[in-house]
C-alpha cells in the first residue's frame, strides 16, 4: 500500500530507562509493515523528543518506558508536542505500564497504551485507523 509509506512514526525512549528491546522490535516491525520509522535511541528528554518529532515531521510518536517514570514523562512529551504546534500528532505509549495508569495517561493525551504481548500488526492497524483526517497522507 503505497500511501502507507508516508506515515512517519517516531519511536522514542524518554528518561533513563535502557530497556529498549520493545522499542527496537516495534520500530523494526512497523518499518516492515510499511511505515517510515525513526528511532531516537535511549535517554531522551521530553524536549529532545518533541524537537525530533517536529524536525522529522512525524504523524505518530510512540513512547516506551519500563522504569515507572511514564506518569511524569509521557504527559510532558504530549504537552511539549502540543506547544510546538504539533496538535494532531498521534501519541501512543508502551512498556511496563500498570493498568490503573492507563486512564490517567489517556486523559493526558496518550491515545493508546500497548503493553507486553501486543502484536505489532495490532499497533499498525490502530495507527492506520486513528490517524487524524488532516494528517492522512
Amino acid at each position: 500500500m503505497p500511501e502507507e509509506k508516508a506515515i512517519r512514526v517516531l519511536i522514542a525512549k524518554p528518561g533513563l530507562d535502557g530497556h529498549d528491546r520493545g522499542a527496537k522490535v516495534i520500530a523494526l516491525g512497523l518499518r516492515d509493515a510499511g511505515f517510515e520509522v525513526i528511532y531516537t535511541g535511549i535517554r531522551q528528554t521530553p524536549q529532545m523528543i518533541a524537537r525530533a518529532a517536529l524536525q522529522e515531521d512525524v504523524h505518530v510518536v510512540g513512547l516506551s518506558c519500563l522504569s515507572g517514570a511514564h506518569r511524569i514523562l509521557f504527559p510532558k512529551v504530549v504537552d511539549l508536542l502540543r506547544q510546538s504546534g504539533l496538535e494532531d500528532v498521534l501519541v501512543i505509549g508502551g512498556g511496563v505500564i500498570p493498568e490503573e495508569d492507563v486512564p490517567f495517561l489517556e486523559e493526558r493525551g496518550v491515545q493508546a497504551v500497548f503493553t507486553s504481548g501486543t502484536l505489532i500488526r495490532h499497533i499498525a492497524d490502530y495507527i492506520r485507523q486513528n490517524l487524524p483526517a488532516g494528517r492522512q497522507t
Partner: protein, 585 residues
C-alpha cells in the same frame, strides 16, 4: 557414520554396527507403520540412539561433577543439594546479602531493612545514580527513587547503612551493588564508609556488578566510551587485589542480554567474550590469574522456554568456560575453571506474559525443573507478578517459594546430579550448542574482540536481530505463547489472582521520594566545604588524564568531601567524553 580411530568411546564398535542395522530396520517397519496409521509423512519427534554420540570420549567430554570439563556440574555436590539452598527455600530473608531492593530514598530503605532486621545490603540504585546524574539533573526527572534508591553523596550511604547499626558491622556483612558505569565511585563510598567506621578494607565482603560491556549491549546504563570504562574496571581489579582482597570485583552477566532478546547461545557467547576482555585487563596489569579469578563472579545467563536447549546450554557453558580458562588463559587452579555463581538456571521474566499472568507460575516452575536437569542452581521461578514491574506481592512470592519446595521435597529432584548425563539426545545437543557458543565467541574475535564488538554496534545489532526474529515468530504463530498468540478465544478465562497482603513499603512514600531526596542533596551541598570539593574534583580530573593511574583513591577523597556522583562523573565526562550508541536500526 564410521567409528573414529583413536577416540575412546563407551560403545563397542561391533555393537554400534548392530545398532545402526537395528535402527534402519526400525525406520522401515515400526516407524513407517506408525506414520502410515497417523497419516504423517514424517515423524514430529526426533529420536536419538548411541549412534548420535558414538565418537565421544566420556572422560574428555563429560567426566565427573566438580571436575574438568565440568559438563556434569560445577561441583561434586550441586548447589541445589547444599544446605545453603535449603536455607534459601526455607524463606529466610537475608542469609547473606538478602533480596535485591531499594525503595524511594535511603531513609525509606534504611527503615524497611531495619524493620526486617536485615544483615546484608543488596542495593538497587535508581537510574540517575546508575547513569551518573544527580537527583537534581534534568534527565533525572521522574526517575529519582524509582527502580532503586538515589545515592548522590556519601551521606546517603551513611544513612542507608544505619539500617545495620547494632545488628552487624561492615566486616560481618555482605554488600552487593547493582551498579556499573559509576561502580568505582560507589565502591569508593563503601571504602570511605569503612574507613570512617574503622573497619579495614581487607575485611570487606561484597560484589559490585561492574559489567559495563553488557550495559553497552543490552541494559543501557553506560556513561563513558568503552576504553575508559574498561580502564575503570582494571582499576577495580588492581585496587581490590591490593587493598580489599575479599571483595569480588565483578559480576559478569548474560541475563540482561538474554532479556534484551539474545538467543541462549548469543547470551552465552557474548558473556564469555566479555569475560575474556575483563580477564585480559587483569592479565595485562601483571596480576596472577589464579589469584584475581577468585574475585570474578558471574550473575547468570538468563533463560527462556526452550527447555532442552536451555539445559544443553547450561551444560555446554560449563565446558566452554573451563576450556577458556584452562586452555586459553592457562589458569592452573581448578577454582578458576568454574563460573562462580554463573550456573543458575531459570526461565527469565521476558518469557512471562501479562495475559493470564498466573501462567507465569508454571513457566517459573519449568525453569526450576531445568535447573535440576541442567545440574545448576535453581529455584521455584520468579514470582508470577514480576510482569507488573518491580515489587512482587507477598502472595506471588509465597507461590514461587512453595514451587521450589515442591520440586525439592515432593518431587525429590535433588536426588541425582546431572540426571540427563549420558542421554543420547542431551549429550548430542550439548555438543551442538557448545559449537554454536564457540561460534559466537569466534565471531566476536573476528570483529576485534568484545570492546570492538560494542563500538561497532555488532553485538547490539545481533541481539536486536534476534529479538525481532523472536517477535516475528510470535506474530506469525510459529512460536506459540499461550494466551498471547494462541488460545485467546472468548471462551478462555483471564485468571488474575488477588494480591491483597500489603507491602511494607507504602507507595505514597514513593511519591514524595524525589522531593525528599532533592532536599537532602541541597542540604549536603550547602553544608560541605566547597573548597575541599573543588580541589578533590580537580585531582580526579588530573588523574583521569593519566591512563595508568588508578582513580579509586581520588574518588575516595572526593566522596569524603561529599562531592556528588554527578559531579565526579561530570569531571570524567570532561576527560573521557560520553558514549554515543551507534545507530543500529
Amino acid at each position: 557414520m564410521r567409528h573414529q580411530k583413536g577416540v575412546v568411546t563407551v560403545f563397542d564398535p561391533e555393537r554400534l554396527a548392530e545398532i545402526e542395522e537395528g535402527k534402519k530396520g526400525w525406520e522401515e517397519t515400526a516407524l513407517r507403520e506408525n506414520l502410515r496409521r497417523l497419516g504423517l509423512s514424517e515423524s514430529p519427534c526426533q529420536f536419538y540412539t548411541p549412534l548420535d554420540v558414538r565418537d565421544r570420549d566420556y572422560l574428555q567430554k563429560e567426566g565427573f561433577p566438580g571436575q574438568y570439563p565440568y559438563t556434569r556440574g560445577s561441583y561434586a555436590v550441586p548447589v541445589y543439594a547444599t544446605p545453603f539452598a535449603e536455607v534459601l527455600e526455607g524463606g529466610v530473608v537475608a542469609p547473606r546479602a538478602g533480596q535485591y531492593a531499594g525503595y524511594g530514598t535511603v531513609e525509606d530503605t534504611r527503615d524497611l531493612w531495619r524493620a526486617e532486621k536485615r544483615r546484608g545490603a543488596n542495593i538497587a540504585f535508581d537510574l540517575p545514580t546508575q547513569c551518573g546524574y544527580d537527583s537534581d539533573h534534568p534527565l533525572a526527572e521522574g526517575e529519582v527513587g524509582r527502580a532503586g534508591i538515589a545515592v548522590d553523596t556519601l551521606q546517603d550511604f551513611e544513612t542507608l547503612y544505619e539500617a545495620f547499626d547494632g545488628l552487624t558491622t561492615l566486616d560481618g556483612m555482605v554488600s552487593n551493588f547493582t551498579i556499573n558505569a559509576p561502580c568505582n565511585i560507589i565502591l569508593a563510598m563503601y571504602f570511605a564508609l569503612a574507613e570512617k567506621k574503622g573497619v579495614s578494607l581487607a575485611k570487606l565482603h561484597g560484589t559490585p556488578q561492574n559489567d559495563i560491556l553488557k550495559e553497552f549491549v543490552a541494559r543501557g546504563t553506560y556513561i563513558f566510551p568503552p576504553e575508559p570504562a574498561m580502564r575503570m574496571i582494571r582499576d577495580t581489579i588492581t585496587y581490590c587485589s591490593e587493598y580489599a582482597p575479599e571483595m569480588n570485583v565483578i559480576s559478569i552477566c548474560g541475563y540482561h542480554m538474554r532479556e534484551a532478546g539474545a538467543s541462549e547461545v548469543q547470551a552465552a557467547g557474548f558473556t564469555f567474550a566479555h569475560a575474556i576482555a575483563y580477564i585480559q585487563l587483569g592479565v595485562d596489569a601483571g596480576l596472577d590469574i589464579d589469584q584475581f579469578m577468585r574475585r570474578f563472579t558471574f550473575l547468570d545467563f538468563g533463560g527462556g522456554m526452550d527447555f532442552w536447549r536451555e539445559i544443553a546450554r547450561a551444560r555446554a557453558n560449563r565446558r566452554v568456560w573451563a576450556r577458556i580458562m584452562k586452555e586459553r588463559f592457562g589458569a592452573k587452579n581448578p577454582r578458576s575453571w568454574i563460573m562462580s555463581g554463573g550456573d543458575t538456571i531459570f526461565v527469565g521474566p521476558s518469557a512471562y506474559t501479562l495475559q493470564r499472568p498466573l501462567n507465569n507460575l508454571v513457566r517459573g516452575v519449568i525453569g526450576g525443573v531445568m535447573g535440576y536437569l541442567g545440574a545448576g542452581f535453581t529455584f521455584g521461578g520468579f514470582p508470577w507478578d514480576e510482569v507488573y514491574g518491580l515489587g512482587h506481592s507477598y502472595e506471588a512470592r509465597q507461590l514461587s517459594l512453595d514451587a521450589g519446595r515442591i520440586l525439592r521435597y515432593e518431587a525429590k529432584l535433588k536426588q541425582v546430579v546431572d540426571p540427563l548425563g549420558g542421554s543420547y539426545f542431551v549429550e548430542a545437543l550439548t555438543d551442538e550448542v557448545e559449537e554454536e557458543i564457540w561460534d559466537v565467541i569466534r565471531k566476536v574475535e573476528d570483529v576485534g574482540g568484545a570492546v570492538e564488538a560494542v563500538k561497532s554496534g555488532y553485538a547490539q545489532q545481533e541481539i536486536a536481530r534476534s529479538a525481532y526474529k523472536f517477535h516475528r515468530e510470535i506474530e506469525t504463530g510459529e512460536r506459540v505463547i499461550v494466551g498471547v498468540n494462541k488460545f485467546t478465544g472468548e471462551e478462555e478465562l483471564e485468571v488474575v489472582p488477588p494480591r491483597l497482603v500489603p507491602h511494607p513499603y507504602d507507595p505514597k512514600k514513593l511519591e514524595s521520594a524525589a522531593e525528599r531526596q532533592l532536599a537532602r542533596l541541597a542540604r549536603v551541598k550547602k553544608e560541605r566545604d566547597q573548597d575541599r570539593v573543588d580541589s578533590a574534583l580537580k585531582a580526579v580530573h588530573e588523574a583521569a588524564k593519566k591512563e595508568d593511574e588508578n582513580l579509586i583513591p581520588c574518588f575516595m577523597d572526593a566522596v569524603k568531601a561529599y562531592a556528588t556522583v554527578g559531579e565526579i562523573c561530570d569531571v570524567l565526562r570532561d576527560v573521557f567524553g560520553e558514549y554515543e550508541a551507534p545507530s543500529i536500526l
